[in-house]
């Protein structure tokens, strides 16, 4: 009853408004890829007049939630949906990877020359609250060449449901048994210590404004705010600087486990590989297998295809790594399964 009332009001208003030739798509979710998504979306909107896409970065948790509640057309997440979450929406979801990124430890230590190195155990100890000062012997042990100040360590984490968090704690759970036991994995966890910031944006901002702070953000954010970016020791024992190459190396390792039939829900944290960065991740767009509106579904598929092909060129400048080329045909196969009313909607854009 209530729904009919609102629907009729909305329909009435939509009809009353001058008919626009535009297809409007709304998405929401991860803040991790927000920098490149905004670049893609605004570029795409400017280039193709008949489509207008909107994306709001409210966190991966928000992306999953709103997508599941059908209040947005597509969701963004760096934390893949769990099997039970997928079952709860009847399996009507596709995870399509769009870009790769690194979750990096970023810190505010003015006057420290050079990059701080972190071993897995050190990262876990910091985020468990066991290391409280920057000149703690455990930090010094990993950084023999650096003089570290006696400043307090201020941990900054996410206050919203986050895929970036998921990647971070997924990694910490793999490398620290204590973390796995005490805190565990999730898009929102019970943090032992720290301040909460909203979105990658909020964590980066808080780190930037708080001397002694350390947080975890996607590489692009740390680059733009020019905060310190730490090196992390990978499974092979090398201290790796987060970079496009090391992220791509991490993805390469994962490719071996994926094939054309993959559903792309793969974690690439703590990979093997001598140069692989240990805390990297795909980020996915959540797309329904079945849409009610064929026109919108088609435009959405086109946008995603554009992002994973032409859009990839923007990635390196903004601090993300492009998808391995081998994935493109697999993604194309998936896009072709998106349907509306039982029929596939995929049709390449007509030539201008």
């Amino acid at each position: 009853m209530r729904k009919t009332l609102w629907l009729s009001t909305l329909i009435g208003l939509t009809l009353a408004a001058p008919a626009a030739a535009q297809v409007r798509l709304t998405g929401a979710g991860a803040t991790f890829p927000n920098i490149i998504y905004q670049k893609w979306i605004l570029t795409y909107n400017a280039r193709f007049d008949n489509v207008e896409i909107n994306y709001q970065s409210i966190g991966s948790g928000g992306g999953i939630r709103q997508f599941s509640d059908k209040t947005v057309d597509f969701g963004g997440t760096d934390a893949p949906m769990t099997d039970s979450a997928i079952a709860a929406i009847g399996g009507n979801v596709l995870h399509l990877p769009t870009v790769l990124g690194a979750v990096v430890p970023t810190y505010n230590l003015p006057g420290v020359a050079g990059s701080v190195r972190f071993t897995p155990a050190l990262l876990a100890d910091i985020f468990l609250g066991k290391v409280t000062r920057w000149n703690d012997p455990r930090v010094a042990a990993a950084n023999p060449g650096l003089t570290l100040p006696a400043t307090d360590v201020v941990v900054v984490h996410r206050s919203d449901g986050s895929g970036t968090t998921y990647v971070w704690v997924d990694y910490l759970s793999k490398v620290s048994e204590e973390w796995q036991r005490r805190v565990g994995r999730g898009t929102s966890v019970n943090w032992p210590v720290g301040l909460g910031g909203r979105g990658n944006e909020g964590v980066a901002a808080t780190v930037r404004q708080t001397p002694g702070a350390i947080g975890y953000v996607e590489l692009g954010y740390a680059l733009i705010t020019k905060m310190g970016v730490g090196q992390v020791q990978n499974r092979a024992g090398t201290f790796v600087t987060p970079s496009l190459e090391s992220v791509t190396a991490a993805a390469r390792g994962a490719m071996a486990t994926m094939g054309p039939g993959t559903d792309f829900r793969v974690s690439i944290t703590d990979p093997a590989g001598p140069q692989a960065y240990p805390i990297a991740s795909f980020t996915w767009l959540l797309v329904r297998k079945e849409y009610p509106d064929p026109v919108k579904a088609r435009e959405l598929a086109r946008f995603i295809w554009w992002s994973v092909t032409e859009g990839q060129v923007h990635a390196p400048d903004l601090g993300y790594a492009p998808l391995p080329g081998e994935m493109q045909p697999w993604i194309e196969t998936r896009l072709k399964t998106v349907s509306a009313g039982g029929r596939a909607v995929w049709a390449p854009r007509p030539a201008p």
Binding site: R2, L10, N34, Q38, Q56, V72, E201, A204, G220
Partner: protein, 283 residues
Amino acid sequence: MSVRARVFRRRVRSMVLTGVVAGLCALAVLPLLFILGDLVAKGASSIDWSFFTRNPAPAGESGGGVANAIVGTGIIVGLACLIGLPIGIGAGIYLAEYGSGRLGWIVRFVADVMNGTPSIVVGIFAWTFIVKPVGRFSALAGGVALAILMLPMIARTTEEMVRLVPHSLREAALALGYPRWRTSLTVIVRTALSGIVTGCLVAVARIAGETAPLLFTALGNLNFSTSLTQPMQTLSLQIYVYATGPFDEWHRLAWAAALVLMGLVLVIALLARWVTRQRYGAS
């Protein structure tokens, strides 16, 4: 101690405490001056023509503006007024004209209760009541949420303004043969109109700056949009996103947008005062 000495001490204490009270008053006003000063100092330099006519640029890039946010604020506030004003004023007139019974007491109590409702609670209500069933975030949902906030404010101020009209006017009109509805509408309400308008303007100024209820209803939009059935950006949402973000460009724009929003609120508030002044000036 002699009486004169005692009186002198009391006088001194009175002066000192008067000074303390004046000092407290000055201290209370000080943050306002700082805030306004900071808004101008940090925001004015970013305000140029392109600020008003451009839409946001991608994250981290420069050259964006708040055109979509300004229009969005206007549309959502306009929607809220469209929904909230008739109901609010109607309820207010009801309370003043027929509100001495039990139903009037209930409505008045409810209005007071709703006046104190935190705006975030209204926001989550609007999400479950409108956004989720319909299946999309929209400017309409945002407008409704703001209307819910406006309603009790307008109802109460309208009631008070209508009650202030002297009984003699009502009785004169009735004595001249006006039916009750016509007395109420064309005599009483008309006299109270400027006060009602003031109350409405004050309520509009309040909701123009609201952010919390829009977080889950209008959501926000990267693009310029006038569609009521799509998400929409407002100045308040824009300020929130930009202020909590890490980019210097965003911070700059946040200050400028805050200055614009504050200017808007100020204009409405001054308009409200001007309306009342007109009334007293004319009589």
